[in-house]
């Protein structure tokens, strides 16, 4: 019970910090915190399927897109939709869809989760590298679907004027909820079963674990929170286009969870802060670069090079990431022994 009390206090402090930040920080700092919060949600959920269940899938951009589009369509008022859809008239169902903020992001999550359920049947017939390729394909399919169905998604122009209802209070609290759900899953028989599937699938099924079911649970839970994260992203940015949800997004999340340590939720949190904070800090690399008086010009995307190099270095020297597959608390336990 001591531990329970400690956790309650920690959560209370975090919520107070979020509340304080929302009311006192300037909008630039808040936008960085928003970004960190959303990516933390995405990284935590991606870590469940990739780190805990050990299924090397490259699909999060697909689920984030589904969540973002559902939320955007549900939030945008009907009149704005009629104005916005320039290529073709919006489908009647698009005009009818309408919800408040919280139901909207939840519907986005449920939609992503449902797609994950459907996807799991073909996808989990293959393992390892093949799984990566199949799920990578799924991300592309979602993007191409969004581009080629302007009646539903307004095509390549994307959706804008999404009401900006996501603030740091929402994002922070949902981030806490995501973290708690992930920890609760991991420290239960389901988390153990997922880890056993990661370690040795045949031995797991020889112990009576339904490996397909465990993978699907992990996949659906991941997708749910990725969808919610997508919804928050849409509402925070107020505008979305299909190109936002390219493989680059998945790549960014992959860097985060590998840096934090596959299978470590606290590692994912720390890594999100490092990577997203670093992204902001390294912004000067995208500006004009002058070395010894030579003007090399501006190279947008220079920041990503840094992270690509970081990933390579980590694969060579620190394959287990910051925390390995352990949680932060387990390190303190070791010390006290």
């Amino acid at each position: 019970m001591n531990k329970f009390l400690r956790n309650i206090i920690l959560i209370a402090i975090t919520i107070y910090f979020i509340y304080y930040a929302q009311n006192h920080f300037d909008s630039y700092t808040l936008s960085i915190l928003d970004n960190i919060g959303i990516f933390a949600i995405l990284a935590l959920s991606y870590n469940l399927i990739n780190g805990i269940a050990g299924q090397f899938s490259l699909e999060p951009n697909g689920f984030v897109a589904i969540g973002a589009y559902f939320t955007a369509i549900l939030l945008i008022p009907t009149d704005t939709k009629l104005d916005m859809f320039a290529l073709v008239d919006p489908a009647p169902i698009i005009l009818q869809m309408k919800a408040h903020f919280l139901p909207a992001i939840l519907i986005g999550g449920v939609a992503a989760s449902f797609v994950a359920l459907l996807l799991s049947f073909p996808v989990f017939r293959v393992r390892g590298d093949y799984l990566a390729i199949v799920t990578l394909g799924f991300g592309f399919i979602i993007r191409i679907f969004a581009i080629n169905n302007p009646a539903y998604t307004n095509g390549a122009m994307g959706l804008n004027d999404i009401p900006e209802e996501a603030n740091f209070l929402w994002i922070g609290i949902i981030c806490i909820v995501t973290f708690l759900v992930m920890i609760h899953v991991i420290y239960s028989k389901f988390g153990r079963a997922m880890k056993s599937v990661r370690d040795d699938e045949d031995a797991a099924s020889a112990m009576g674990i339904n490996t397909f079911k465990m993978k699907t649970y992990a996949f659906m839970t991941s997708a749910f929170f990725e969808g919610i994260g997508g919804g928050l992203l849409a509402s925070m940015l107020t505008t979305i286009t299909p190109d936002q949800f390219s493989f680059l997004l998945t790549f960014q999340l992959l860097i985060i969870i590998v840096l934090g340590g596959l299978g470590s939720m606290s590692g994912a949190l720390i890594a999100t802060i490092l990577v997203m904070g670093g992204m902001e800090w390294l912004r000067f690399l995208d500006d004009d670069i002058t070395i010894f008086g030579m003007d090399l010009g501006a190279h947008p995307g220079m920041r990503m090079v840094v992270f690509a190099i970081l990933l390579i270095v980590m694969m060579l020297f620190a394959r287990r990431g910051l925390l390995g597959d352990r949680e932060l608390t387990e390190f303190f336990k070791k010390k006290s022994k």
Partner: protein, 258 residues
């Protein structure tokens, strides 16, 4: 009611053109220890894989407690009451000894996914019960002190014990042991046979085991089958097997034509 717990009924297994098991039949009696021996590549592990549903036999049936279990999926076979260990120990490498054994109790922890996420009372109740059972099991094997250490950090002999404990956690009626004494020194082997006898009595088990160590087989088995190239070349008491001509020629080569 017959006293047979497992019946292998004319099973043939072909991989392409290779016949791994040729028309094999034998019966394991309830409460007995049955041995399956034979030279390398004789098809012993293939039989295990057929019983546990990893392979579907080309011909023949597997009957467990009077029910046909041929081709039942591996994770369902466990619920019928058959648990196995592997030839090359296959513990869950990133998990602690306790967690490894808790995996065996998975089906007995009866709470849903949402109950786990919301941490409802049933989660705490069932987790407590299976943890207690896991500690009882570890006590029997004398591995309680390793509960929190990583499974792969243990010695070979202890890893075997964890694997057998994990199999026992599924509450089986029939235990399949694939070379349990492989890679153990004589002391460890002696300790292992003691434990196997003990768990057989305590858990009311029948055991089917694959082994190379004849001394171990002699001490353990009530009855055995000798396989050679997938064929049943001997069935009977272990003491008779080591003097049987066909068995000797299968292991050491045929001297009559030399």
């Amino acid at each position: 009611m017959s006293n047979v717990i497992l019946k292998i009924d004319h099973v043939t297994m072909q991989f392409g053109g290779v016949t791994a098991i040729d028309n094999l039949s034998f019966e394991v009696e309830k409460g007995s220890i049955y041995g399956l021996i034979g030279p390398n590549g004789a098809g012993k592990t293939t039989i295990f894989n057929i019983i546990t549903g990893n392979l579907y036999p080309t011909k023949g049936r597997v009957i467990f407690e009077g029910n046909d279990i041929t081709g039942v999926k591996p994770n369902k076979v466990v619920y019928k009451g058959i648990a196995r260990t592997f030839q090359n120990i296959r513990l869950f490498k990133s998990m602690s000894v306790l967690d490894n054994i808790l995996i065996g109790f998975d089906a007995q922890a009866n709470y849903s996914y949402f109950e786990a996420i919301l941490r409802l009372p049933r989660y705490f109740k069932h987790e407590k019960i299976i943890k207690q059972k896991a500690y009882e099991l570890m006590d029997i094997f004398g591995i309680t002190q390793f509960a929190d250490s990583n499974a792969t950090a243990l010695s070979y002999g202890n890893q075997r014990k964890v694997e057998i404990a994990r199999a026992l956690a599924t509450n089986p009626k029939l235990l399949l042991l694939d070379e349990p004494a492989a890679g153990m020194n004589p002391n460890e082997t002696a300790e292992l046979s003691e434990i196997i006898h003990k768990i057989k009595k305590d858990f009311d088990l029948s055991i089917l085991l694959i082994e190379h160590d004849m001394k171990f087989v002699n001490a353990m088995c009530d009855k055995l089958t000798v396989l050679d190239y997938g064929e049943n070349i001997f069935e009977g008491k272990p003491a008779d097997a080591i003097v049987d001509e066909r068995v000797i020629s299968a292991y050491l080569g045929d001297f009559t034509n030399a």
